[in-house]
């Protein structure tokens, strides 16, 4: 056995360039496959993480504009929720855990000293905290007393804290929100690429200070027992029934009320990702196939080049099996060795990227809104790809070698 390894090593050393070229196509194939699949996974994990800002079964409803006439009312009627509606729904929507009306004030200026930022502020109730996976970094979130006393307090996102305060202690400071002073009660953290982080103020303060009409467009709440697509569809139907009778629009009207529940949007994204996954796999497999074609090509040329040598060996007593074995083993050694190199490099790069991303400080910059999380590949998939490549390498060596050894020794000897 030692003998045959020496023969193989000698053949590989003699044809260094060929060995390296074959090896490169193999290593490259597996490397690209790993990097591609890892990137796909990273993207998927990243988007998944961005969904975390919403608690699992958060539902939001937004008032729209009717598109059908109903009960003598014209279509094109703009809907919104009155304070009475808000209170009514709180007691009539099924399965509610947490509940908060949302008043948005776009383009609001928050200033501290000479610094100012322009953002959106949300007037919400304490329940809103659990509707989003909001974490408090400093101070507190809006509480019941804020609501009861209609306090002018504000909860900021680290992005604004950085801009407004630099190194000053934040909580307890007063900022001007459209020239109205608010005391900073806390700093919260939430990462999402999907939205600009808002500043939060108590709902009734917002109503009193910024919303003279008292009508709002959004209500958000948490529900139990709505986990599947079926349950989600059923729940949506139930809400539509309640809303349409209260607000006088046709239950068939798709534009009167807009729903957004995490389960549905999560499912939609999942679907997009399964499509992306398929593409990534197709590209990966194509790369792998290019590697296989690379080995096959080079093995065909190799065997052809060595036909004369095989003739000599046969004249000296080499059996076809011994030549076949040598060629197949050589091909196998090359694919294994370089496949391993490609695999190691690929895994090293993806793991390094993953580790760097995990180590990055969080919470105070835009970079925190990541689209790329944990870009790694399941090792079984890597090993599977290696197996495919190795089998392909064996076949790539076997077929031309089989042909070469089946010709008569005298023909092989006269082969140039």
């Amino acid at each position: 056995m030692k003998n045959i390894w020496y023969e193989i090593f000698l053949a590989m050393r003699t044809n260094k360039l060929r060995t390296i070229l074959t090896g490169f196509s193999v290593a490259w194939g597996i490397f690209i496959l790993i990097v591609l699949l890892a990137s796909g996974n990273g993207l998927k994990n990243g988007v998944q993480k961005n969904f975390d800002y919403m608690a699992k079964n958060t539902v939001s409803i937004y008032a729209g504009t009717t598109s059908m006439p109903y009960n003598g009312l014209q279509s094109g009627r703009r809907l919104s929720f009155s304070p009475q509606d808000v209170d009514f729904f709180k007691h009539h929507f099924p399965n509610i855990i947490d509940y908060s009306p949302v008043y948005r004030s776009w383009n609001t200026n928050i200033s501290f000293g000479k610094e100012s930022v322009n953002t959106v502020i949300f007037g919400v109730e304490p329940g809103y905290k659990t509707l989003r996976t909001t974490k408090i970094k400093q101070g507190r979130f809006i509480n019941e007393i804020d609501i009861a006393e209609q306090r002018k307090v504000i909860i900021l996102h680290p992005n604004f804290v950085q801009t407004l305060f630099r190194d000053v202690e934040v909580t307890g400071q007063y900022v001007l929100v459209n020239d109205v002073p608010f005391q900073v009660a806390g700093v919260y953290e939430e990462s999402s690429i999907f939205r600009t982080p808002p500043a939060y103020i108590p709902f009734n303060t917002a109503q009193a200070v910024f919303n003279s009409s008292k009508f709002i467009d959004e209500i958000a709440f948490n529900v139990t027992g709505v986990e599947t697509k079926e349950e989600s569809d059923k729940y949506r139907k139930e809400l539509t029934r309640i809303l349409s009778s209260r607000m006088q629009f046709s239950p068939e009207d798709q534009h009167a009320i807009w729903f957004n529940d995490r389960i549905s949007s999560y499912r939609e994204t999942q679907q997009i990702f399964s499509v992306i996954s398929i593409f990534v796999w197709i590209i990966g497999i194509a790369t792998l196939m290019a590697g296989i074609v690379g080995i096959s090509n080079i093995m065909v040329i190799t065997v052809k080049e060595r036909t004369h040598e095989f003739g000599i060996r046969k004249a000296l007593g080499a059996t076809p099996a011994s030549i076949l074995k040598a060629v197949v083993l050589e091909s196998l050694v090359i694919t294994l060795m370089f496949g391993y190199i490609g695999m190691t490099l690929g895994v090293f790069i993806t793991e390094t990227a993953s580790a760097l991303m995990a180590k990055k400080p969080t919470g105070n910059s835009h970079e925190d809104m990541t689209v790329f999380v944990n870009p790694t590949v399941d090792i079984n998939i890597v090993l599977g790809a290696m197996t495919v490549l190795v089998i392909a390498g064996i076949i790539a060596g076997y077929i031309p070698a089989k042909r070469a050894v089946s010709i008569k020794p005298i023909e092989a000897l006269s082969f140039k």
Partner: protein, 224 residues
């Protein structure tokens, strides 16, 4: 040692070419025989059939009493390894192996370990005055040296028959004479040596000259 009866061989590449048209020939153990003939007379084909590098269509070939007929390549390879040593006009050394490794190769296919292989190969190189060249590559050697390497390789597996196809065809007259002398001494040790040549001064030094003409033996001259 070798007994041919009515051997026919036709090549079918393009127009059928009837190369051997019934060869009857007996070569005894220990003979030193040359096969002569113009190019196309079939002398190389005959040698290839003797060496089991090629097959024949009709007739019988007995080698050491064993019928050599259609057999699988594995069996043929074993028989070649055991019975026959080849010397070629173009040496046919493997160019990425050293002189020593080239000489040792037949023993590799006999399944002998590397240490013993190399020891034996060195012995044979020594015999042919090439010990100092053992670790040289073929392209670093002269034609005469290459042919002596090839002879050492042909002898190392202790064959019964040495087949030489124009062994001096690529060499000058001085080295040619050296090679013939070596073949002569091999024969003196009891091996059957068959040389294909078209040079009269070579065949004149063998014991028996077989003339081929148009695929038939035209005459056999004893030269002893």
């Amino acid at each position: 040692m070798i007994q041919l009866t009515n051997i026919h061989k036709t090549y079918y590449t393009g127009a059928p070419l009837h190369v051997l048209k019934g060869i009857d020939l007996t070569i005894e153990k220990g003979e030193f025989v040359s096969i002569m003939g113009a190019s196309g007379s079939g002398k190389s084909t005959l040698l290839n059939i003797l060496g089991m590098l090629d097959t024949y269509d009709k007739g019988t070939y007995l080698l050491d009493g064993r019928l050599i007929t259609e057999m699988n390549e594995t069996k043929a390879a074993r028989l070649r390894n055991q019975y026959i040593g080849f010397v070629f006009q173009s040496f046919n050394l493997i160019n990425f192996k050293t002189a020593l490794e080239n000489v040792a190769l037949p023993l590799y296919y006999r399944g002998i370990g590397r240490k013993e292989r190399n020891r034996t190969a060195l012995e044979y190189l020594d015999k042919l005055d090439l010990r100092d060249w053992a670790n040289h590559m073929p392209n670093e050697l002269s034609g005469g040296q290459k042919q002596r390497i090839a002879i050492a390789r042909a002898l190392i597996a202790k064959p019964h028959v040495v087949l030489a196809d124009e062994p001096t065809g690529a060499l000058d007259s001085v080295t040619s004479q050296e090679v013939i002398n070596i073949l002569r001494s091999i024969n003196a040790e009891g091996l059957t040596v068959i040389v294909v040549t078209h040079a009269a001064e070579i065949s004149a030094q063998t014991d028996k000259i077989i003339h081929l003409k148009d695929g038939m033996i035209s005459e056999i001259i004893s030269n002893k």
